[in-house]
């Protein structure tokens, strides 16, 4: 039974690798629409990997979908902040936006308290938190069984570190919701109604934080403090969760023309 399960697991893993490699081949051939479809398929199957998001970001960038590309780079960086290429590509994509709007920053308390965790990947934080948690309980158990010389110190240190890394892991699993404008112009209104006066406009690729969502509307804030309501259909939510509804997986038809143009640029 165990062998069967392991085999199924390995086969599944191979299928994901195959899809990933096919998507890469499509990308290299300039068929960005197919590449996007395949990367999105992986994501819809709950494959969460910074590489998939990074490559999807590139595919969207080449297809001329700046908003989506920025969202994917943000996702890749959420999972692995050390992904230098994703950081560079994100900066490049932001430079290509109309207003080069700065990205949202974490709250001040978080920057002060968790200053050390921004360079750690989500996987590393999870592993460290779990390991230290186990160490804390094992050390505590050892103290029950036979009080040794250093167990008390180990318990205290492991406990403090487990709490710190636990907090970091929790924060990484529940980051502030970021959304990216996914239309040429996204109207941000005073309220959740299209008839409400437009407070300001976002351009494609502008990043905002979302603090409230009601009936297809999101309350968004820019880095410089402007706030208002935008329609969900004009935004891409970075997540987590990363799995998107099925209807969003397919690349839009408008991408094809842009695909060809950018494909030509890339070939040059």
């Amino acid at each position: 039974m165990s062998l069967l399960l392991a085999a199924a697991f390995l086969l599944g893993a191979n299928a994901y690798d195959d899809t990933f490699n096919s998507a890469n081949a499509a990308y290299n051939a300039g068929d960005y629409a197919t590449a996007i479809q395949m990367y999105e398929q992986l994501i819809s199957e709950s494959v969460v990997s910074p590489a998939v998001f990074f490559n999807l970001g590139n595919a969207y960038y080449r297809a001329g979908r700046l908003g989506r590309a920025i969202a994917e780079y943000e996702r890749a960086l959420q999972l692995d902040p050390n992904l230098y290429n994703a950081r560079e590509n994100l900066a490049k994509a932001v430079r290509d936006t109309k207003d080069h709007l700065a990205g949202p920053r974490p709250p001040d308390w978080q920057e002060s308290l968790l200053f050390w965790h921004y360079r750690l990947s989500r996987h590393a934080t999870d592993t460290l938190a779990a390991g230290l948690w186990l160490l804390f309980w094992v050390a505590l158990g050892l103290r029950q069984w036979r009080p040794l010389r250093y167990t008390r110190g180990i318990v205290v240190v492991a406990g403090v570190l487990a709490v710190a890394f636990g907090l970091s892991a929790w924060e990484k699993a529940h980051p502030e919701m970021i959304a990216v404008a996914d239309a040429a112009v996204v109207h941000v209104h005073y309220g959740t109604n299209e008839n409400e006066t437009v407070r300001f406009d976002l351009s494609e690729g502008d990043r905002v934080t979302v603090d409230k969502r009601i009936n297809g509307w999101s309350r968004v804030s820019t880095a410089d403090g402007e706030r208002g309501w935008a329609q969900d259909k004009d935004l891409v939510f970075v997540g987590p969760p990363y799995k998107r509804p099925a209807n969003l997986s397919a690349p839009p038809s408008t991408a094809s023309a842009a695909t060809q143009n950018l494909g030509a640029t890339a070939a040059r």
Binding site: D17, E45, S49, Q144, T197
Partner: protein, 601 residues
């Protein structure tokens, strides 16, 4: 004549010009309590001021001996003539002896040989002591209209504090400003204090459908129904963001009042509400394409502070919008495309201006513009389209175009390197590869599905805790077994007894061994010495510990059978030993169960 004397004489003659004589009266407070002294002050101006003729006033005891006196002199020189004005102030103590309004009539004051009169002045005398409780059935804390006669000579707690909410307009266009004023009227008479609770947050009413900006509160002293009040006005400027019937919610105010009269203190809590205010927001007429949402009346000004610009050197270009209306809707004034100029994003600044009751603003957009080429820079006219609610039409404000010369910077004026035309031609053929994105990742770590994170997290978090709890329980039992002999004997009695019973068949004297096993079990169970258990001890021992009598009888029977064999020399047969052994096992099980049940109870 000596020059000094001549000078003095000249000065004296020139002082012949004296200001018009006049006299005034004022009191330190308009409302006084009965039989409480207050001060009224007479003020007369002239060069020679005589004794004022204080009349008798019904209901008022006045001490005609001036309580205090002061004077001041002012000399003014107009042309060649000097003018001297002397002002004398005399303060008198007075005490009201009846309630109600008392008028001090005009007081005659001789000044410079003339008689001048003060204006009559009226004071309000109220009861000393308690503030009246409101009359039953009277509406509480509702503002009375100004001009209604006072209800009596004493204020009630209803008069002490009330609130009002007013708006500047009830029918407006979408985006047009409505000023909401929330007034808190607090009675201002001696001894009374009205205020909010310590640390209480001020809550503005609900204004759904409006964009609100808050102004600084202001204070004024007003009179209503004959009582003086301190009025605090909290104000918001509201802009309807949608058209239709909107409502400004009720304003709720909680506060407390305290009235001190000597050692007596009265306190009263207030919980006041205003009525909701309906506002009709009319939709704007069909919007012109360049309309950005500004509603009000605005003026537009463009300013380039420098008369000459330098190539490559940034300069400030300021657009100022001033007027009345929703400044928040003016997010950026679109700057038209200007050739050979780099324009930064604007820095915005808003300054609210309040003159009288009018609230306007001045909003500036400061751009940094950098000319990229020398020559003449022309900033075309900039326009702002807005809706004027007074004229009920759209208007467009335009700035005057600005033309300014741009000179070469000091470094550029003498170019030292000349670019060859061939090099310029080649420039377009160079690809900037550094600007392209980084390529895709082809060999990532093994791709796998993200599993059920919650289940994994729960397992990782929960398992060590459970394991530790289990270990802690085990260790606790172990420690108790080591330290608590009674517990250890009781805990191990059954297994030890059974082990001994298993060895009965192989023993040289089975009845002896059976006896020892059963007696040992009972001794362990009740933590007594093994030798102290005989068949005769079982029943009292079991009875003492509340064990059933039939169980005691069973054990007694087994022990008696063994004792008979031991002391009477009648050896037990193998069959009897086996039967007794089985009976002992059953009895042990029953005793164990019973004691467990008892402990559980």
């Amino acid at each position: 004549m000596r020059p000094g004397v001549l000078m003095a004489a000249l000065m004296l003659t020139s002082f012949a010009a004296i200001a018009e004589p006049e006299a005034n009266i004022r009191v330190d407070r308009q409302t006084v309590t009965i039989r409480t002294p207050f001060v009224f002050t007479l003020e007369a101006s002239g060069s020679n001021i005589g004794e004022p003729q204080i009349p008798d006033v019904e209901g008022l005891n006045i001490n005609r001996q001036a309580a205090n006196s002061s004077s001041s002199m002012q000399v003014s020189i107009v042309g060649s003539r000097s003018m001297m004005v002397k002002t004398q102030r005399l303060g008198y103590y007075a005490q009201a002896t009846r309630l109600g309004k008392i008028t001090i009539p005009a007081i005659a004051v001789p000044v410079d040989g003339q008689t001048v009169y003060t204006k009559p002045i009226t004071i309000n005398v109220i009861e000393r002591g308690a503030i009246q409780q409101p009359v039953a059935g009277q509406p509480q804390n509702t503002p009375s209209s100004a001009g209604t006669p006072p209800r009596g000579n004493q204020p009630t707690w209803d008069d002490a504090a009330f609130i009002e909410s007013n708006v500047s307009k009830r029918g407006v266009y979408q985006g047009e400003a409505v000023v909401l004023t929330l007034s808190l009227w607090a009675l201002d008479i001696p001894g009374i204090q009205i205020g909010t609770y310590r640390g209480q947050k001020f809550d503005y009413p609900a204004t759904e459908g409006f964009y609100a900006t808050t102004l600084e509160p202001r204070q004024a002293r007003k009179e209503r129904n004959g009582w003086p009040y301190n009025v605090t006005e909290y104000r918001q400027v509201l802009y309807p963001t949608v058209s239709g019937e909107l409502t400004i919610g009720p304003w709720h105010w909680n506060g407390a009042g305290e009235y001190r009269d000597g050692w007596r203190v009265q306190r009263q809590n207030f919980s006041l509400d205003t009525q909701p205010i309906p506002i009709t927001a009319k939709p704007l007429p069909e919007r012109p394409p360049d309309f950005g949402g500004a509603v009000g009346s605005f003026t537009l000004k463009a300013d380039l502070p420098r008369s000459q610009l330098m190539q490559g050197v940034p300069a400030q270009f300021i657009i100022t919008v001033s007027g009345k209306g929703n400044s928040d809707a003016l997010n950026a004034i679109g700057l038209p495309k200007i050739e050979n100029v780099q324009v930064s994003d604007p820095e915005k600044g808003v300054k609210p201006i309040e003159t009288g009751g009018d609230i306007s603003f001045e909003k500036t957009f400061t751009y940094a513009i950098t000319p990229l080429a020398a020559g003449t820079l022309r900033i075309p006219s900039i326009s702002l389209c807005y809706f004027d609610p007074t004229a009920e039409s759209y208007k467009t404000e335009k700035t005057v175009p600005i033309t300014v010369p741009v000179v070469l910077s000091a470094e550029e004026s003498t170019p030292r390197v000349v670019v060859a035309p061939e090099a310029l031609a080649m420039k377009g053929a160079v690809d900037v590869i550094g600007e392209d994105i980084h390529p895709i990742v082809t060999s990532p770590q093994r791709l796998r599905r993200e599993g059920a994170r919650r289940a994994t997290t729960a397992t990782v978090v929960g398992m060590p805790v459970l394991a530790y709890c289990g270990l802690a329980l085990v260790m606790r039992r172990r420690r108790r077994l080591e330290k608590d002999t009674g517990y250890a004997r009781d805990y191990l009695a059954k297994s030890k007894g059974r082990r001994r019973l298993r060895g009965v068949a192989q023993a040289a004297e089975p009845s002896d061994e059976l006896y020892k096993a059963v007696a040992g079990y009972i001794a362990d169970k009740f933590n007594i010495a093994e030798g102290a258990v005989t068949s005769g001890d079982v029943a009292p021992l079991f009875g003492k510990h509340g064990v059933d009598g039939d169980l005691a009888e069973g054990f007694t029977r087994i022990l008696k059978a063994c004792e008979r064999a031991r002391y009477a020399g009648t050896k037990l047969s193998t069959y009897e030993v086996t039967a007794l052994g089985e009976a002992a096992v059953v009895a042990m099980d029953r005793l164990d169960d019973q004691m467990k049940r008892r402990r559980a109870r």
